[in-house]
């Protein structure tokens, strides 16, 4: 049956800012969603032709292949420093880093705290999936107590291996940070909220209000040894209790933005 006279309406298409190639991400991984959200937000803000991205080391190491924007690739953990260098010499560009939890909260803790405390006008997209994905699922600073990983085979023992780092809470204590929130990508409602937060974060940068960071709870079905659906449920059941969603820092100037 051919319905020639029914008008078509585009309800879904690939953002121009996303490159039309197949990603290397695993099925059920939420990196693809967060990439898309970033691309949509930049496009809606008309900033695609004014943005430089900084990729990090981790599963998103090749993020630069998936965006139609200028990109640089940082050393492990150093993306906020590299982004600082770019933003300081090109202050009218939108500059963002895209970092995982090992990159940002372990090896790169010095750089992220430095950038946030200086109030660098950067937007950080922070993917928290509770493990080192790229290297095969080792314990990350975000790995939950008791969580089994390839380097905590009997489960993370906080007495021996310490406690997870709650990054959004930690960075929210810094005066240079204007907007620090935690969102999740495990269901549609949260995805929409995540997009809104990313929009706010980039607006914070555009309005030069300070450092902005959106922590996104993400799935890693392959390394967690779960199906995509199980992984989604694990975020809801396990991660949300340790990493509550919420706005950890919204500076008065950001609140006044009224987005």
């Amino acid at each position: 049956m051919v319905m020639m006279d029914v008008p078509t309406r585009v309800v879904y298409s690939r953002p121009e800012a996303l490159d039309p190639r197949v990603t290397h991400y695993c099925p059920g991984c939420t990196h693809g969603i967060s990439h898309r959200l970033v691309a949509e937000v930049l496009e809606e803000m008309g900033e695609v032709e004014n943005t430089i991205g900084v990729a990090s080391v981790g599963c998103s190491v090749f993020a630069y292949n998936y965006f139609n924007i200028d990109f640089v690739e940082a050393a492990h953990g150093r993306a906020p420093a590299m982004a600082t260098g770019i933003k300081r010499v090109l202050p009218d560009r939108m500059v963002f880093t895209y970092q995982g939890d090992g990159d940002l909260a372990s090896i790169g803790m010095g750089e992220i705290v430095g950038a946030a405390s200086r109030g660098e006008l950067l937007t950080v997209v922070f993917i928290n999936n509770a493990n080192y994905g790229m290297t095969g699922g080792q314990m990350a600073p975000t790995t939950l107590p008791g969580q089994v990983t390839t380097s905590s085979p009997t489960g993370r023992d906080v007495k021996r291996q310490g406690y997870p780092i709650q990054t959004a809470e930690l960075l929210s204590t810094l005066d240079g940070a204007a907007y620090v929130v935690r969102r999740s990508l495990h269901n549609t409602r949260e995805v929409r909220r995540a997009k809104k937060a990313l929009r706010t974060a980039f607006e914070v940068q555009k309005h030069r209000l300070g450092f902005s960071l959106v922590e996104l709870l993400s799935t890693c079905p392959t390394n967690w040894g779960m199906s995509p659906v199980e992984a989604r449920d694990w975020v809801e059941e396990r991660m949300l209790t340790y990493y509550p969603l919420g706005d950890y820092k919204v500076s008065p100037a950001v609140a006044e933005l009224n987005l």
Binding site: F71, R78, G85, I86
Partner: protein
């Protein structure tokens, strides 16, 4: 323009901004602090970015980012800080972006001390960071030369998309000499065709040091190495003193080179036919002139403020054809000219050998000195 009496660190900082330094990122460490402090005042005056980073790791990676925009950028540090920067240097080399850094070398290893030394030769000239890459390394011996080489450093960095290190020993950073700093020059106007700009306009630019495909990485390494050959062919610089009729030659760079100059003059007064070769670029190394000298002279004395790091580069050229002797002080101890003169007198008085290693003979002689 009239000369002014100026400290090496301050002179390099002021020279850098006058030849178009657009952004500086650094971390405090003695004995390079005046450099950072000078720029902390001057850069904001000129509306140019100055960032005191959270660490040397942060500083070098800020340089990395800013260098990706094609602008003239730099950092400075001293030995322990430079060790931390090795990661960034390898990445910058692997991304082929130009950058300048200043190493005001102090005594080590470890925390060491803040006295002048040349113990960073190996880490700067022969590696530090991972992978196949070379830095252009300039080793001034006076404040004026440091100023002149600062301008050259930025030009060479741009020309070869290379990292250029200005290696000062701590004494040169702290020393004051009359010198002339060039007038203020306009900032570099053109954006290189490889630089990220953020307005890709269909010409998306990606700067990365990743090459997952080994043959692609090999091609890049090949490019880096052939570019280095070009640098070796075109950019060697050195200064020679009294070499025309010299039977013996002292080789020394930076402050060790100028200390040796005093000793060479004193030896000349005593009728010893000795000259001095002072490499200005220690990378690329002045192999050719050393080769010519090897054919002409009776022997060499290498003088350094380390345990004989450049010595190995001299030995690579001389290849046992002529005797090479070594004298050095280490760990922040600076040799006096009379110590070098004693070594010169020994060089011409005792039977020399091409057997064994000059470092072993030197260590044996030093046993009494060190005590």
């Amino acid at each position: 323009m009239a000369k002014e009496l100026i400290k090496g660190n301050t002179a390099v900082a002021e020279a850098a901004l006058r030849v178009g330094l657009e952004a500086y990122f650094g971390y405090p460490i003695t004995p390079q602090t005046e450099l950072l402090e000078h720029l902390s005042a001057r850069m904001p005056e000129l509306g140019r970015p100055f960032v005191q980073a959270e660490s040397e790791l942060g500083a070098i990676n800020m340089v990395y980012g800013a260098a990706c925009t094609g602008k003239r950028v730099m950092t400075s540090s001293s030995s322990p800080g430079v060790s931390l920067m090795m990661e960034g240097l390898s990445y910058i080399a692997g991304t082929e972006v130009p950058a300048v850094f200043v190493d005001v070398v102090r005594g080590g290893p470890g925390l060491g001390n803040i006295a002048p030394a040349q113990g960073d030769y190996n880490q700067i000239v022969h590696g530090g960071g991972h992978g196949d890459y070379h830095l252009i390394v300039l080793a001034p011996a006076s404040v004026q030369e440091a100023i002149d080489l600062t301008g050259l450093a930025f030009d060479l960095a741009d020309k070869y998309r290379s990292i250029v290190c200005i290696m000062l020993d701590g004494s040169l950073g702290q020393m004051m000499e009359p010198a002339e700093i060039p007038p203020m020059q306009p900032l570099k106007a053109e954006i290189p065709d490889w630089a990220v700009r953020g307005n890709s306009d269909g010409d998306r630019r990606i700067l990365t040091s990743i090459n997952l495909d080994p043959p692609a990485q090999e091609r890049m390494n090949y490019r880096l190495m052939t570019r280095w050959q070009e640098i070796e062919a075109n950019e060697v610089r050195f200064k020679s003193y009294y070499l025309d009729d010299a039977d013996f030659v002292v080789v020394g760079f930076g402050t060790a080179g100028r200390i040796a100059l005093s000793a060479v003059r004193a030896a000349r007064e005593k009728g010893i036919k000795i000259g001095l070769l002072r490499p200005i670029t220690v990378a690329p190394f002045p192999n050719e002139v050393l080769e010519e000298l090897t054919e002409k002279v009776k022997g060499f004395l290498v003088v350094e403020m380390n345990a004989g790091q450049m010595l190995e580069d001299v030995r690579l050229v001389v290849r046992g054809r002529k005797p090479v002797e070594f004298f050095g002080r280490m760990g922040g101890v600076v040799p006096f000219p009379d110590e070098v003169l004693t070594e010169i007198e020994r060089l011409v008085a005792v039977p020399l050998t091409t057997n064994g290693h000059p470092r072993d003979r030197w260590l044996a002689r030093m046993a009494d000195v060190i005590g």
